[in-house]
Every structure is written in C-alpha cells, then in structure tokens.
C-alpha cells in the first residue's frame, strides 16, 4: 500500500492519497493522471490493468486501487 501511495503522490504531489476517497467523483484525477498511474502500477506491481478496469470505483481511492491490484495478482 505504501508503495502505491508513493507512486500516486509522485504523479500528483498536491493530493493526500492517504485520506482521499473521491478522486474521480470530485474530479481530482483526470485521464492523464490515470494513465500515468496505471503505467506505473503495471510496471511496479507486474500486473495488467486494462481499459475495462478504468472504472471510477477502482480509482476513487488508493485503497480501491490497491484492492484491484490484489485481485489482478490473484487472477494471475
């Protein structure tokens, strides 16, 4: 989780990812941020987040994204 927060904060240092829970709903992250986060996550966690996973519920918080990563790792 800490590694994920570090990745997200590296892309958007102005957001506190430890507390934010409506990153998409509140328009805090835009599509450019999302693809950058996905790129980093795929690389660092060795998973493959695809277009179908780009749902608000998967990106609204660091916790939700972490759950998605765990799910993808288990599927592999």
């Amino acid at each position: 989780m800490d590694q994920l927060i570090e990745i997200m904060s590296g892309i958007r240092p102005d957001i506190d990812f430890t507390t934010a829970t409506a990153l998409i709903d509140d328009d805090l992250l835009d599509s450019f941020d999302i693809i950058a986060i996905v790129g980093e996550v795929n690389y660092k966690f060795d998973v493959e987040i695809n277009v179908n996973d780009l749902l608000p519920e998967n990106f609204n918080s660091a916790g939700a994204l972490y759950e998605l990563i765990k799910k993808l790792q288990e599927e592999d």
Partner: protein, 520 residues
C-alpha cells in the same frame, strides 16, 4: 423532415400519442417504426447503409458472445495449463472477429466520407487530377458508426452481453432522437432503457415539453437569427473594422451553442416524454476555466467516446508503455506522464478534427486545441509558481471570471479556423483583426443590420437567458429556482418563449435538418 418544422412536431405528437396508447410491452415497436419513418424521410437509400452496418455489428457481437460461451464450456473441464491455452485462443479469436467487423463498419464510413479528401490531396501532386466521386453520404453516418463501433468494442471487452434480437438492436442504433446529431449513446444505457417499460407520466410530459420549447427558442430565436448576422459580416469581413470581426467571433460561439444545445434540448425533451433519458452533451461549457475543461463540458459524449475507445487504448498500448518506460528512466515520472499523454492527444485530436469534416482546416483546428491543452500541461508547475508569486487567490471571483473569459476567447478564436472556407481565409480574417480598429465602437444597428431591431433585442435577451441558466446550473441554483418560481412568472416565461418563437422564429435554415452539426 427538418426538425425545426411543423411536420416534425406533427410526427413527434403522433409518435407520443401512439406510444402511450399501445400496450406497454409493444411500445418499443412504436419507437422502431418511428425511427424508420424519421430516417427514411431523409431518403430511403440511407436506410440500406444503416441496416448493413448495424447487421454486421450485430452479427459480430453475436460471434463474440458465442466464442465466450464456448470458452466457458471448455474451461469447465480443463486443467490449469489448458485453461491458459484456451484463454489465449479465445483472446485471439475475439480480436479477429472484432477487428474484421470494425474494418468493414468503419471502412464504409471512411470510404464514403474521406475518399474525396484523399483524392484532393493526391490531385495536388498530379498534373492530370483524378475525378472526385459523388457518393451518397448517409445521414448521421459519423454518429451511428461510432455508436456501433463502441458497442462492438464493449462486447469485445466483456463490458456487457451482446443483444440477441436484431430488431431490438436496430431500435437502439436508429433511435430517432440520437441518430442525426448524437448524443453518442451507449448500449448499456440507452439499449437497456429501450427494453424497460415506461408508463405515461404527466410530470415527465410537462418537463419534456418545457425542454423542447427551450430548445426551439435557442435554435429559432437565437441561433438562426445570429446565423444571418454572422453570415453577412463574414461574407464581407474585409470591409469591416476589427471590432466587428471580433464581435462576430464571439457571437458565433453563442450561435453554435444555441444551435447544438437547442437540438439536444429538443431531442432530450422528446425522449424524456417517452420515458427515456438521453446522455447529456453539454455541462455549461462556456463556464469552463481551461480549454481542457471546456472539452469535458462541450459535446461530452464525443469526448467520452474518444477517451474510452481511442485515448485509453492508445495510452495503455505496449508502444505507449515503452515510450513512457524509456522516458521514466531518463527524465523521471513527470516527463513520462507528459510524453504518454501527448502521444495519445495527437491521435485523439487528429481523429477529432477529421471526424468533424474531411479537410485540413479541421485538422489544424484540432492540433491548435491540442497545442493549447499540451501547453497548459507542460507549464502547469510554472503557472502554479507564478500564481503563488503574484499572490493570486484561485478561489477569488475575479480570477475565476478571468479564467472563464480567457477560455471562452481562446475557444472562440480557434473556431475561426474550422468555420472559414479555408485555412488561407481564416488567416486573412486574423490579418484583418490585427490591422487595427479593434477599439472602433460597434454600431449595433449596423452590426445587426440584416435583422429587425425587435429580432436583435430577442437575440440579446436570448443570449442573456442562456448565460443566466448556465450560471444558475453551475452554482446549483437552477433546480431551486424552477421549484420556487411563482406560477405567474413561470407561465409568463413560457408565454414569452412561445411568442418569441412564433414572432421571431426562423432564419438561416438551409442546412440538413436545419441544424449545424447535422452536416457531420
């Protein structure tokens, strides 16, 4: 059948009447019949293209469904190693089906829309030019092709299951409120709603009718009157001082907004009466603070289509990752993010420009929009530091007004390129703007010389009303304004709208269906 006509009103009234008279479970068939009648009213030959494209998409989606079902059956009895093999096999099979169908459906559209563009470009290098083709251009092909492609890609991605009834599917694709100018509906939204039963609702009828009225007001009283004024000035732009040309640039933004959003209100209102909610295409676009934000508020469903089916797949493609990975190692995470975004933006804006019209001026217009967005991204840190140094409070009203005005100005100026006869004419227009005379007082009686004074007042009041509604919507006060508005004022507003349409309605209405976006 022009939408801004009595014939269309008669058609819609008949559809609504029959729709609510027949038993609930057959109502979708009324919509299907209405779709076919409406579409054929523009030419029966167009229907052939619509049927071919929709049938290919429908069958391809069924093949995708069948492939997935076969995989589910096979995988139930397979071991771990076989499962992986079967999954790979399914992936390849689905990809082949999807790409083949997309090639045909998009191919039909590309050939019909872009052949002359290719020929004209080839002719520029030939001493004996090739003759241009005069092929039919099916109504709404740029809209329904993308809707079909979106459906197929969604089924390919297992977002939802393929429809098994072709008539149901055709009813979705040809839905008359969206077939000519959008919005780009998704099957899991509109298709689902078309399957649901919608009993009559007086509340929906009233709200829908009000929205239709507002749409006709925007179109007939504001957009069509502005069209006359703008056309007259732009046709002789070299004879006018810069202040007039500048004013026309700003007015065009209101013309296109009133025209396009007016159409969406008319169709959204009709759909609302039928119990079906169409996706919204506008969210107070002229209150956007950046160009990037503007494009998330203007023609929303087109932007979302390009985001989901072009931007994301390209940004997440192996090539984009390779570039990002290379950039990350060399220049860090921020540059990697920018490079990845620029690459996708380039393709999205090339496609957006060409989607509008097959010519270079639209491509240039697209690239300039991209350039502005890319500059904002590139200099985001610098801008932030500058604002801090200048002690600018981003929440202050003056700053918000400045950002909104700046964005409106940028978007309006860029439109000169896409709306001029050619790129050369656009730059000539800019040349006259810079020649001087920007501070010459505008004589409104001369500027609006092509229309009556009463019509000019109606246009100005109409623009003010559009801005007021947008501001109320933006600040979240529109709903409470509507609910708390006394009946007398509400009735007066509706009477004024109806009278304005009767007295001032009509104008430049020579485009297909009478609406600007119908030509795309």
């Amino acid at each position: 059948m022009p939408v801004a006509s009595f014939l269309f009103l008669l058609f819609v009234s008949s559809v609504i009447f029959v729709y609510f008279v027949v038993p609930v479970k057959y109502r979708w068939l009324v919509i299907l019949a209405a779709n076919i009648f409406f579409y054929c009213s523009y030419g029966v030959k167009y229907l052939v293209y619509l049927i071919i494209s929709s049938l290919i998409t429908f069958l391809a989606a069924l093949f995708l469904r069948k492939a997935s079902e076969e995989y589910t059956n096979d995988v139930a009895t397979a071991d771990k190693g076989q499962k992986k093999q079967l999954k790979e096999k399914l992936k390849k099979k689905k990809k082949r089906i999807c790409l083949a169908a997309l090639a045909i459906v998009l191919g039909i559209w590309i050939v019909l829309k872009y052949t002359n563009f290719f020929l004209a470009n080839i002719n520029a290098f030939l001493s004996e030019p090739l003759p241009l083709v005069e092929w039919v251009m099916p109504l709404g092909i740029s809209f329904y092709t993308l809707v079909l492609a979106g459906y197929l890609i969604d089924v390919y991605r297992d977002k939802y299951e393929a429809e098994t009834n072709y008539l149901r599917f055709f009813c979705f694709v040809s839905y008359f409120p969206h077939i000519i100018q959008g919005p780009f509906s998704r099957y899991d939204d509109l298709g689902k709603q078309l399957k649901q039963e919608h009993p009559f609702s007086y509340d929906r009828m009233e709200k829908g009718a009000r929205r239709i009225l507002w749409g006709f007001f925007k179109k007939l009283v504001v957009a069509d009157k502005l069209a006359i004024v703008i056309h007259a000035i732009r046709a002789s732009y070299s004879d006018h001082p810069a202040s007039y040309l500048f004013f026309v640039i700003l007015m065009y933004s209101f013309q296109i907004y009133a025209d396009f959003s007016g159409y969406m209100d008319i169709m959204g209102g009709i759909s609302q009466i039928l119990g079906i909610t169409l996706a919204e295409n506008f969210r107070q676009p002229y209150l956007a603070k950046t160009v990037d934000e503007f494009w998330r508020r203007w023609h929303i469903t087109l932007g979302e289509w390009f985001r989901d089916y072009v931007f994301y797949p390209l940004s997440m493609s192996p090539l984009a990752y390779k570039i990002a990975s290379f950039a990350r190692k060399r220049w860090g995470i921020k540059t990697a993010k920018l490079l990845q975004s620029y690459l996708a933006l380039f393709f999205v804006w090339t496609a957006t420009g060409l989607w509008h019209e097959a010519n270079w001026k639209h491509v240039l217009w697209g690239y300039l929009n991209m350039f502005v967005i890319a500059c904002a991204m590139q200099f985001a840190d610098f801008n932030q530091k500058l604002k801090q140094r200048l002690h600018i409070n981003e929440e202050a009203v003056y700053w918000k007004v400045f950002c909104v005005a700046r964005t409106f100005l940028l978007v309006s100026i860029l439109r000169v390129i896409s709306t001029s006869d050619s790129i050369a004419t656009a730059f000539s227009y800019f040349g006259h703007l810079l020649k001087g005379g920007l501070f010459v007082p505008v004589d409104f009686s001369l500027l609006f010389g092509e229309i009556a004074v009463s019509e000019m007042i109606a246009v100005i009041v109409g623009i003010a009303a559009i801005i007021a509604v947008d501001i109320l919507n933006e600040t979240g006060r529109w709903q409470s304004f509507k609910e708390n508005c006394p009946m007398v004022i509400r009735c007066s507003i509706l009477t004024i709208l109806i009278l304005s349409i009767i007295l001032f309605g009509g104008g430049e209405n020579d485009l297909l269906g009478g609406f600007m976006y119908a030509r795309f």
